[in-house]
């Protein structure tokens, strides 16, 4: 908890944040109890998960699904809920049938 954080004499009075865009530095991914896992083999790159993700945690590159930003994914599960692709093979991570994005426990 205290490693690398400022002490009470160092913090900015009133919690004022003096640099813009600093929420990137705040890793909300630490709040996650469930983790979305993705099967790249069977993904159609429809990007519906990218549209719905409330934390911009689905990273897209050159029009193709790239990765999940686990530093900022809170594990809400919306991506797994909205994923429309019914997979034909067992999921590469979970080994289960179902969707391309599935939720697994963080523990």
């Amino acid at each position: 908890m205290s490693e690398g954080l400022l002490n009470w004499k160092e913090v900015c009075p009133g919690g004022t944040v003096t640099e813009p865009g600093s929420s990137v530095a705040y890793h909300t991914g630490t709040w996650r109890s469930m983790r979305p896992v993705h099967d790249m083999e069977q993904c159609t790159h429809c990007m519906i998960c990218w549209v719905y993700c409330p934390d911009m945690a689905i990273i897209v590159e050159d029009g193709r699904w790239k990765e999940i930003d686990y530093d900022h994914c809170k594990g809400c599960g919306i991506c797994a809920e909205v994923c429309p692709v019914k997979i034909k093979q067992p999921h590469t991570v979970t080994g289960e049938m179902g969707k391309v994005i599935q939720m697994v426990s963080e523990i």
Binding site: M1, L5, L6, N7, W8, K9, V11, P13, G14, G15, T16, V17, T18, P20, S22, Y26
Partner: protein
């Protein structure tokens, strides 16, 4: 010392006059008796173009303090005024103003909290806000209300402090009570308060900021510790501002106003206008040879605990007078008594016999005869060594 104008004014109009002379950037306020005379008079000054202030006529006190927080965050000098239920409605935002270190100055013209509905003086309103993180100053008379308003700007905005200040006076008793007051020339007030020094400003687009942001279990605690530390820096600043004001006006201010405490064996501690009544009775008793003293605290937050112990540590019997009740506290004592009892105990002065007198609730008159009764009780306590009832009531039909 500068030449001052002598006028007959009530306490509310004294505060409005100080606000006109300060000419703050923003005043957001809602009228409530007995504070109405402050904002009504000030809004006339705005309408007449006598100030450059942006006056925000809001829909409630919750909105008033919210607008003050916004304006102060934007980097403006901000003032407001309220009383009683209005202050209670501000409660949530009082904490936000203090926690964000916004140097807002607010007059509170003390009035009883409902129910039953009562518009007259007691201290239950500002005492309810005593833990919100504001510096609290109590004035005895219209002159002090005027003087405290001007000094409050300097205290609040001091760069080592940056805390909001609540400046009190007694509703109707001094708020609507006309007295002789000495008023400074406008330019002297302007010179004394100086120009507003911004620390953080949302309008500073070259240095973008976020204020009042998310602060979780990883940082909130540190910010609270920093906030409480700020109070420990307040007394030297309050005293320095009071001394400088004295050099300007001939009226110096400190933490207390005292009478006879150098040799007092018995003492009365009382806030605000009642100190005037008590002073004349105590003076009379001293002329009759009684070693009784009076302490009128000017500052309730931060609580001057070490200074109190220096004054009271050798007294045999002490009467605290509270114009409010801390409901459910030890025997229903008042906040002043509870703070003082804690201070004496913490500093090892637990032998002092100290009693609490609840008085004046809802504007009930407090008369010289009541203070005489208190002094007689103190003599009896000192003589017998028996403290007796911890909490007593003055002017109550038993």
């Amino acid at each position: 010392m500068v030449k001052q104008k002598i006028e007959a004014r009530d306490g509310a109009k004294c505060v409005a006059e100080a606000m006109r002379q300060i000419d703050p950037d923003v005043v957001a306020a809602y009228p409530i008796t007995p504070q109405t005379a402050v904002v009504q008079t000030f809004s006339n000054y705005v309408a007449d173009g006598l100030v450059g202030t942006e006056f925000v006529a809001v829909e409630s006190e919750h909105a008033a303090m919210s607008a003050c927080v916004g304006a102060a965050s934007a980097g403006g000098r901000v003032m407001t005024a309220t009383a009683a239920n209005g202050l209670a409605l501000m409660w949530e935002i009082l904490y936000i103003a203090a926690s964000m270190h916004l140097p807002i100055v607010m007059t509170c013209v003390n009035r009883a909290l409902s129910a039953p509905l009562n518009i007259h003086c007691d201290h239950s309103d500002s005492m309810g806000a005593r833990d919100a993180g504001w510096i609290q100053l109590f004035a005895e008379n219209p002159q002090e209300a005027y003087d405290n308003t001007i000094q409050a700007i300097r205290i609040a905005e001091h760069l080592d402090l940056r805390m909001p200040v609540m400046s009190m006076q007694d509703g109707f008793i001094t708020g609507h009570g006309v007295e002789r007051v000495a008023l400074l020339p406008d330019e002297e007030v302007q010179r004394f308060v100086g120009s507003y020094q911004t620390t953080y400003s949302l309008l500073d687009i070259d240095n973008p900021l976020t204020m009042g942001a998310w602060d979780f279990y990883d940082y909130y605690f540190e910010h609270k510790r920093q906030q409480t530390a700020a109070f420990s820096r307040a007394f030297p600043i309050i005293e320095a501002v009071g001394k400088e004001y004295g050099e300007l006006t001939g009226r110096s201010y400190g933490i207390f106003d005292t009478l006879g405490m150098e040799d007092a064996e018995l003492a009365i501690v009382v806030l605000a206008s009642t100190a005037g009544t008590a002073r004349s009775v105590v003076r009379q008793a001293r002329e009759e040879g009684l070693k009784v003293g009076l302490i009128k605290p000017r500052v309730f937050r931060p609580f001057p605990h070490t200074q109190f112990v220096e004054l009271l540590g050798n007294c045999r019997a002490v009467a605290v007078m509270d114009r409010s009740i801390s409901f459910g506290a030890m025997d229903g004592a008042g906040p002043l008594y509870l703070e003082l009892a804690a201070a004496l105990f913490a500093h090892g002065c637990s032998d002092v016999k100290m009693v609490d007198y609840i008085y004046g609730l809802g504007g009930r008159d407090i008369l010289p005869g009541h203070i005489e009764q208190v002094i007689q009780d103190l003599q009896s306590i000192a003589r017998t060594g028996d403290r007796g009832e911890l909490v007593r009531y003055l002017g109550l039909r038993e």
